[in-house]
Symmetry: C2
Subunit: 742 residues, 2 copies
């Protein structure tokens, strides 16, 4: 190696700098920074001259029309908020919806002369206002200067002009600053920035021109205006409910929702598109990738946060996130779905929480969930049952889909629960429900993944000695058994399975499956002769701590005797299908006469499962067996969600606006063991902010009573919801409905 | 507020723990962890008994067939690597491609008896091997046990069996561990793990059953096998080249590519799907979101890393990332595209780098780029020119698209350059080029975004006094002017514009635009009468430091006299279109006779721009003007990329395998100023690993000479590439081609 240089000599490079890497600027990339925060502001000047200063300086523009006062007409009982369905928001600001007129009153120093005076109401959002980006919008009261936002003089009397303003139905959603500008021959003169004149502009499901238009009064009332939700869980044949306070109108929640988009650095210019807003939020509601709102935890250990089963509403979570600017601990699927629902309803996107019973999960969008049996038909516990959740909650939001061919607008599935293999990212949707129903899963976003959640087959394999597997049975009806959401206006559930799937066994269903396979879904193609023996596990409704009987029925539909070697296992599982511990194992041989049935009854004593129970108190029974005469494999599976004790919630008092009332929560430990580290929570929309109390010990058989005074701030029907949660006993709920008189 | 409890008393909750939040386990969510690392291994047992131990322990399985030796036949000159096109990989392991047979030799303790002996060759990948997930694959030599991987005995003589193995054409891509297992009546007995028997299985563009099949020998040779690349840049009418060493076969590069997927925690089960691999890599090649390979920097200040213009190949970057496990500093678009190309070719996915001249960027997938003029037609410098890059590089990779309707397979655009507004995430593609050409931009992934990059209109607006804008001119031909890639087998470029777009003005083009608008793209709809005056800026080829003339031609196509008030501005810009400084401004009034033309000539002296130059030495000229007689707006824009001085690279010696040679790089500072902090780099595929040298000062007019000895390790044509880079002078390149004789 040799170096020569006439004058230039190689030397050692300068030492590498230590310490954290400096932030790289984008000087060579963007002339103007991209505005991605609604809380950033850049003021626009009070004076904008068209002319150079003369010998005596700039001409005094105040000689022209002068602005004395601007009244935002923002009281909850004034027309703006009433007409825009925003009266319920706890907020000191004007909140309106796009594509619909609102009014403000401007007081000038003299009567307004339409032919001489020229003024505009200007709206500014973000730090880089630009007319062409829709982040600076001047609205004129005259016809010839109409931009996408319309303006008109509604009334002009004395010095006061009532100005009607209709924001474009596709304008950015967020908090705008408002100025009134007077245009003179020499320049423009504006009002100074006044915080109290800020305006929130939201999505508008009430107007047809808005992409979130929902043409059904009852559904709008439910999916935009209702704060009180019911989220279904448990088992399809024994459905349980969680009541949830979405709190979308609570003080601070709207700002928290805007903060979420700011935190995601979502460009302001994307915030008028409900597809982009919903997609971004599905990523931001979970903390993966982006320090989003909620930390997922399925471990059973919630020492360092609030157990997912303990929350009763979204308000505390959203306010906590926006004030601490740190992800909130902890969530599981229904918490993600509930808080996501609050976010969507708060911004004006119609939204609901849906629950899919037996939901295929983390299976990479394929239509197969494998269960592996040994040569005798006994289930291999290390198999992949964990990819079927007992239930899974996600959201639907309502919007048009101009990015897709016609027919795929309407309800869209979005999911904020971080899934391991949804395109490798922790977000999902919006996926058109119509596209899912028709197997058109080639369209964005993540339709194939949601399709698999409701349509996967359960494939049973027999494992041979040499390690290879042979498919022996397919259950095409287990997954996606039922999809529920709250019925609009009612306290009951609505079965929306038919919105996701054609009926089992129909021609349409077969066509849809073929379509999905065309788009790359993999299915098990083998066909298996139907066994002539059926196994039936009964539906069970039992409470935690009960002894109970499990009766397994064997039905022989053949004309010959059948002998079945059965393996019956019962295990305690998480709601995700993951098995925690076994408490039952039987291997009966059952002989069944031709065309008759035979039952095996097993006694289950509470001691056998109580010590093993994990949070949602689910028992999973799996029966597999081999028919001796035919070699056919028969199977049955069932999840039993045991019922927990309830909290007693009692409200007393006048139930009248601004009159003090009392709520009392009572609980008696019904078990023979102590409960430790117990949290009790309660809240009620419009009447009681979230409160919680900690009890270090509730001994066996003892009780707690907790009373709180509160003063209703809003009339109408509402509820108090309470939860009790401790490591040994989770998801104990109670509630009481009341109607507050005005 | 009151509390009562018979025995349970509320107490203070335990203090919140301090310190970092503990890692949350997924115990309740996944029974078996999801395997997402190819470097994690879990051994499978040496003995797998079918039977319980007898009184004397387990039966000694060694009495059956015993395995003495396994020969992987992995030398570069043996059939396996020759047939599988993997001889060039610098690796001690067997590397083969899926869907194609390779052979290994197994030596037993006695001759193999097909009717008595039962054995399998087992392949295992990742830490949770499972047959049903394709992460554990036993391959049998007999017909009746064929899984998706085929096996056969090719030859059996004495104790040696030559076994042919054909991996499934859709198997996971990565590094497998290999075992030979003998099946006896009592159990299975395996070889112990032996690192030297690990096998890399890659994508296979040579077989029709693989999703990456490319049915063109010449294209395969280029897009899989060629290490030496040419990346185009500069201006569409004065194209420059960068030579790049992709280095996909260099020692350690294949492992670095697998590490990138491990680092992304990409599930092993996704790694057989080229769509998922390409999409994941487009996210991982940049450091945003995920601590990926390359840190983008467009600031002009590269003090804390290597300037993007200084790199000459991918090897150094990939090896640096996999050894330091830290993102590498710094990249701009061609560096992302080049390293992405290395990754794709290394794994066997056909790939090429393409350059789009005048590429619309960061514009949110819309088809409009706005330029704002004042009332006189003069450009507003604060406008959004920065959303048209002089050029932008991305990648195309070749694969079928089973997730889309038929017709969208083939070349797919992928882009690793982090874009601000591509669906809010820092990744892009794969987007079907066919879908882009036909406006079918509703299909994943990010097709609308790439469509906008090549199809956006430039819309000129006139800004009115009151702040509103009026569109005055649309240029539909500026963006996506030309798309180039290296021609296969040649050293020249290939114009592939017609693969992205129908000809300007054709019926098909109009149909495609309408289609794209159906899918939500926004365009400027106003039509403007064609001006009867044209402005023409000439093509210019000039070198840094030249004085030159800029001649602007005004052509009057009308029968009347035309007067034009023109604004001519010249600025120094980054390649991203961001303006750094102005060096020229003229406002001529030009009178043009009917049906004739008039030229204005401006002298540009080097002093006026030299001090202002930024890295890629681009000058941007914009002319706008207003025709006095008609009020029409006329415009012209042109980027001139000035040519830099060259490095001299000279190779001397025998040019014969394993014979020492010398390379000498020479450079003379042609400027009147000193160059400081100068890095010189050189490398040559197969002959010279990347080397660099630092010179603190090269004074005006002085020279450097740097010689290195090297010993060719491979025969065939190759090159030495060198670069010189310092803050005052970037992207100085030189190269020399040589052919090494065997």
């Amino acid at each position: 190696m040799s170096d020569q240089a006439t004058t230039a000599t190689p030397t050692s490079p300068p030492p590498a700098p230590s310490g954290p890497r400096p932030k790289v600027s984008n000087r060579g990339r963007n002339a103007v920074p991209i505005s991605s925060s609604n809380s950033d502001t850049a003021d626009i000047p009070e004076y904008d001259y068209f002319v150079a200063p003369g010998p005596r300086g700039y001409p005094p523009l105040t000689e022209y029309l002068d602005i004395w006062e601007v009244d935002m007409l923002k009281r909850p009982d004034e027309t703006n908020k009433m007409e825009h369905h925003t009266s319920l928001y706890g907020s000191d600001f004007l909140i309106v919806r796009r594509g619909q007129e609102f009014q403000i009153k401007i007081t000038f120093n003299r009567p307004y002369k339409p032919n001489e005076d020229k003024f505009a109401v200007e709206f500014v959002i973000g730090s880089s206002p630009e007319y062409s980006k829709g982040t600076y919008i001047p609205v004129f009261p005259t016809k010839e200067r109409q931009s996408s936002w319309a303006g008109r003089v509604v009334d002009s009397s004395n010095n006061v002009v009532t100005m009607g303003i209709t924001p474009a139905p596709d304008c950015h959603v967020g908090k705008y600053r408002l100025y009134v500008a007077v245009v003179t021959p020499y320049g423009i003169r504006r009002t100074r920035r006044e915080k109290s004149r800020d305006v929130y502009i939201l999505f508008n499901p009430w107007v047809a021109a808005d992409a979130v238009f929902l043409d059904d009064e009852e559904e709008r009332d439910e999916c935009v205006m209702n704060e009180m939700g019911i989220i279904y869980h448990g088992a399809y044949d024994d459905v349980s409910e969680r009541t949830w306070n979405y709190g979308q109108f609570d003080y601070g929640v709207l700002d928290a929702c805007l903060y979420i988009m700011d935190r995601a650095e979502m460009p302001i210019t994307n915030r008028g598109d409900p597809i982009k807003v919903a997609r971004k939020a599905s990523a931001m509601l979970n903390s993966r990738d982006d320090e989003g709102v909620l930390v997922g935890n399925w471990s059973g250990d919630y020492t360092y946060g609030v157990a997912p089963t303990s929350w009763t509403g979204s308000t505390e979570i959203l306010l906590n996130y926006s004030s601490s600017k740190m992800p909130v601990c902890f969530a599981q699927c229904w918490v993600y779905a509930a808080v996501f629902n609050s976010f969507l309803r708060c911004l004006g996107i119609p939204a609901r929480v849906v629950t899919n019973f037996y939901s295929a999960h983390d299976n990479n969008g394929n239509l197969k969930t494998d269960i592996i049996l040994d040569e005798n038909g006994r289930i291999d516990k290390k198999s992949t049952l964990d990819s079927i959740w007992n239930y899974h909650c996600w959201n639907e939001c309502h919007m048009s889909r101009p990015d897709l061919p016609p027919g795929f607008g309407g309800w869209q599935a979005v999911d904020a629960t971080p899934q391991e293999t949804s395109d490798g990212m922790y977000r999902c949707g919006p996926a058109s429900i119509q596209a899912i129903k028709h197997g058109q899963i080639c369209f964005p976003f993540d339709a194939a993944f949601v399709f698999a959640e409701v349509n996967s087959d359960v494939v049973f394999y027999s494992r041979r000695r040499d390690g290879t597997l042979e498919p022996v049975k397919v259950n095409r009806a287990h997954v996606g058994r039922m999809i529920l959401t709250k019925a609009p206006g009612l306290e009951t559930s609505r079965d929306i399975t038919e919105q996701y799937k054609f009926p089992e066994g129909s021609t349409e269903e077969r066509t849809v499956m073929e379509k999905a396979e065309e788009y790359g879904c993999q299915r098990e193609k083998s066909e298996f002769p139907e066994a002539d023996v059926d196994l039936v596990l009964p539906s069970l409704e039992i409470s935690v701590g009960d002894d109970f009987e499990l009766s397994l029925e064997f039905i022989n539909r053949s004309d010959q005797i059948r002998n079945v070697d059965a393996y019956i296992s019962g295990s305690v599982v998480y709601y995700t299908g993951v098995s925690s511990a076994d408490f039952l194992f039987k291997t009966p041989r059952v002989k069944i006469e031709p065309n008759s049935s035979e039952s095996t009854v097993m006694q289950v004593r509470s001691e056998s499962y109580m010590k093993q129970l994990v949070e949602q108190a689910n028992l999973h029974f799996i029966v597999t067996g081999k028919v001796k005469e035919t070699g056919q494999i028969v199977t049955a599976m069932k999840v039993v969600t045991m019922h927990n004790p309830k909290l007693s919630v009692k409200v007393s008092g006048m139930a009248k606006l601004s009159e003090e009332m009392t709520v009392t929560v009572e609980f008696t430990n019904p078990f023979s063991f102590n409960l430790e580290d117990v949290y009790v929570r309660m809240e009620g929309p419009g009447i009681l902010p979230p409160k919680n109390k900690y009890y270090s010990l509730i001994t066996a058989g003892s009780s707690l009573t907790w009373s709180e005074y509160f003063t209703p701030r809003r009339a109408g029907p509402t509820r108090v919801i309470a939860s009790l949660d401790c490591p040994a006993l989770r998801q104990v709920y109670g509630q009481e409905s009341i109607t507050i008189k005005p």
